[in-house]
């Protein structure tokens, strides 16, 4: 894993960031190493490993290239895992082997322009037609946009509440599936983010994931374990920030102020890592883990941002030059505090769970 990340993925990272280029080679290498099916059971062509193994994989990739990590993370976690949990046997047989091998890249389409933290208010419509559904609407901030072969899409098939939402498997080659604006972002430049526009997309009933009206539950459960992946991504960025700071201080004169900062960075990283691994371990053991996953996502991503800022500070002017890993980590880290539930939403989840 480390060999792959450091040997194949890391050398691409600066270029992928500079050119805003999809890291084709990284995704291909991850597929060949079986990483795209890490959570998928062996009978469907995956590796059948648990959430902890998954978190460690994402951490290793993120340490090399955070763009590559989020592509693999979204594919493996929220883009595939819901099918393991809520899919029918037919759905699993049809889609999972292709997702496990990387023949298809997965994606997750929940957020809409007016529906971010308030996911239950989403507007995309799923109208019954014959034996299936017709989907209409626009999703925004979709990771793997334009690259995914299969989108898990959440749309309203019933009432104006959470219980009116259903989940659907929408192949990218279905008629009416369009890519809208692809965003220029502050960081994660190798990972395409943009709008998914569905215009009269016909989806057969067999592509509904879970029961009608179960979509919100599917989404929330997907995001619970998604948060473990994002925690892993944060740990990778934070570890890279610590390693690069260490190398920098070893190569130049340093004083006690530098040493204290490095000690604080490493301590904070260790606490974040243990929180994330604990949440992953609970998840793998089949125990409740919602609160721990939210705490891990909150603490790991805040840690990644702070450590990226600290490392850039240690590097000084030279760290701010484009192409420097310090500059890249700083820009990449910020997204993690925002996506898969902003850190404000994580605080809501944690507080609600404590006060339950």
């Amino acid at each position: 894993m480390r060999e792959l990340a450091q040997g194949v993925i890391q050398p691409l990272a600066a270029e992928v960031d500079r050119d805003h280029r999809f890291p084709e080679e990284a995704v291909k290498a991850a597929a060949e190493a079986g990483l795209l099916g890490v959570l998928i059971p062996r009978e469907y062509g995956g590796a059948g490993l648990d959430a902890l193994a998954f978190a460690i994989c994402i951490e290793e990739i993120a340490q090399a290239c955070a763009s590559s990590a989020v592509i693999v993370d979204v594919h493996t976690s929220v883009g595939s895992e819901p099918m393991l949990l809520f899919g029918t046997e037919d759905q699993k047989r049809k889609w999972l082997p292709k997702l496990a091998s990387g023949e298809l890249l997965g994606a997750f389409a929940l957020t809409e322009p007016a529906s971010g933290s308030d996911a239950a208010s989403l507007k995309m419509s799923a109208r019954r037609k014959g034996g299936g559904y017709v989907l209409n609407g626009t999703k925004v901030f979709i990771t793997n946009i334009g690259r995914a072969g299969l989108y898990i899409v959440f749309a309203r098939s019933g009432e104006e509440k959470a219980a009116g939402i259903s989940a659907f498997l929408v192949p990218s080659n279905a008629e009416g599936v369009k890519v809208g604006q692809v965003f220029t972002k502050m960081g994660l430049n190798g990972s395409p983010t943009g709008e998914l526009v569905l215009e009269d997309v016909e989806v057969p009933a067999e592509n509904r994931l879970g029961a009608e009206g179960q979509g919100f539950t599917v989404a929330m459960r997907a995001l619970d374990s998604g948060r473990i992946g994002i925690s892993g991504q944060a740990l990778g960025i934070a570890q890279a920030a610590v390693d690069e700071s260490r190398a920098l201080l070893a190569s130049r004169g340093r004083d006690q102020g530098d040493d204290f900062l490095l000690a604080d960075m490493a301590t904070r990283l260790e606490s974040a890592r243990l929180l994330a691994y604990h949440a992953a371990w609970l998840c793998g053991a089949g125990r409740p883990f919602t609160r721990q996953a939210s705490m891990a996502k909150l603490h790991c991503t805040d840690t990644a941002m702070q450590l990226a800022i600290d490392a850039l500070q240690l590097a000084g002017d030279e760290g701010t030059i484009s192409g420097s890993p310090f500059d890249r980590h700083f820009r990449d880290a910020k997204a993690l505090q925002i996506y898969e539930g902003s850190n404000q939403v994580q605080r809501l989840v944690v507080a609600r769970d404590i006060l339950r």
């Binding site: 933290s117 502050m186 002017d317 701010t320 700083f330 910020k334 997204a335």
Partner: protein, 379 residues
């Protein structure tokens, strides 16, 4: 203690504010995206007297007060940090002349800067000499009535576009920081080269240049102060310019907060504006408090520059440290308040977050500010 600005200062600020909102704000995103020096904005500032703010009237300027410089830098930085450096560096590059120049030098060198006909820059850092300025390698050898400069400088803001450049060089290479002298180079008569501009995280419209000096001749009349006085001049200048970086950080934070505050009032989730949620309200309260605290420290330090207060060094370092750390934190939180929209370049706050980072680094890293403050405390 007086917390009020003079009528004249307020008039200057209002003029700058209006000009910036009309002419600079609409250009800011493009300046960042293209990483292009906004020559048009330099001209706008020159034509409207803004580049004359750092100079007293007797040298062709309109103020010379640090408080006024800070007010103008803050206003510009609210919209565009790159453009605010045009004024901040005009002040930085002119301070050595105003602080250490003879009357003849001030009368000769300042008017073309005050009119905006030329812009100034300040060249201290080298590849092997950042926080440790005394380790510099650029040398100036005297031959009769002139010096010959050889060496290079790194991370020089505006060094490629300046017409007047203050350069620090060793005149007595064995003498450590006591061998450093300060020189004013005028581009026509003492041309330097700028072979490389850096591509950066932020302040992308402000050129950061590597400068090379190959047998550059400078008349003795352009040496500031005595031989060997350069290091003292460099430090005295940084004391005076640090409140300006504080003001820049303050402006960046205020620009981001203005935007985020409007956004949270308009953005609706769960059937109400997100500003109605206490978690968001607490963030807003913390941000506004941090900005207010930084503002007072910045203007206190600027006042100390203007009154030549004895504890100027310490307070100026505190203002730069606190305001720049504040700007980093506040802009990071403002991106957070906009969520996914904050992270994309269709909205201005991610640019402001990238711009904020450098304020913790340049004109003495915040580690150096802490060293300066601790030294003053333990003296």
């Amino acid at each position: 203690m007086d917390f009020e600005f003079s009528e004249e200062q307020i008039a200057i600020r209002d003029t700058v504010r209006e000009l910036v909102q009309d002419r600079v704000a609409p250009r800011a995103a493009e300046i960042d995206a293209k990483a292009e020096y906004p020559k048009d904005i330099e001209k706008l500032f020159a034509d409207n007297g803004i580049l004359g703010i750092p100079f007293p009237e007797q040298y062709g300027g309109i103020s010379g007060s640090s408080v006024t410089i800070c007010m103008a830098v803050e206003e510009i930085a609210k919209a565009c940090a790159s453009s605010s450096l045009i004024l901040a560096v005009q002040a930085l590059g002119s301070y050595p002349i105003l602080v250490a120049g003879s009357e003849e030098q001030k009368k000769r060198l300042c008017p073309p800067l005050a009119s905006g006909e030329k812009v100034a820059a300040y060249a201290l850092s080298e590849t092997g000499s950042g926080s440790d300025a005394a380790a510099m390698k650029t040398v100036a050898k005297r031959h009769g009535n002139e010096y010959v400069l050889n060496g290079s400088k790194q991370f020089i803001t505006g060094g490629s576009v300046a017409g007047t450049l203050v350069v620090f060089a060793q005149t007595d290479p064995g003498a450590d920081h006591r061998g450093i002298s300060a020189f004013v180079l005028e581009r026509e008569s003492s041309p330097w080269k700028a072979p490389k501009l850096e591509h950066k995280l932020g302040i992308r419209g402000s050129p950061t240049a590597e400068l090379v000096f190959e047998d550059v001749k400078v008349p003795v009349a352009n040496r500031l102060g005595e031989e060997g006085a350069g290091f003292k001049i460099a430090l005295a200048v940084l004391d005076r310019s640090r409140p300006g970086i504080g003001a820049q950080a303050l402006g960046i934070a205020e620009g981001a907060f203005d935007y985020a505050l409007n956004y949270v009032k308009e953005r609706k989730q769960f059937g109400q504006p997100i500003s109605s949620f206490q978690g968001i309200q607490f963030m807003l309260a913390d941000i506004a408090t941090q900005i207010e605290a930084a503002r007072h420290l910045v203007y206190r330090a600027a006042t100390k520059v203007d009154t030549k207060a004895p504890d100027l060094t310490k307070i100026a370092a505190m203002a730069k440290l606190f305001a720049s750390d504040m700007a980093m934190k506040v802009t990071t939180d403002c991106v957070q308040l906009l969520g996914g929209y904050g992270y994309i370049s269709d909205y201005p706050v991610e640019r402001m977050m990238r711009d904020a980072k450098i304020t913790q680094i340049y004109e003495g890293t915040n580690q150096i500010q802490r060293v300066v403050i601790a030294r003053a405390l333990l003296k």
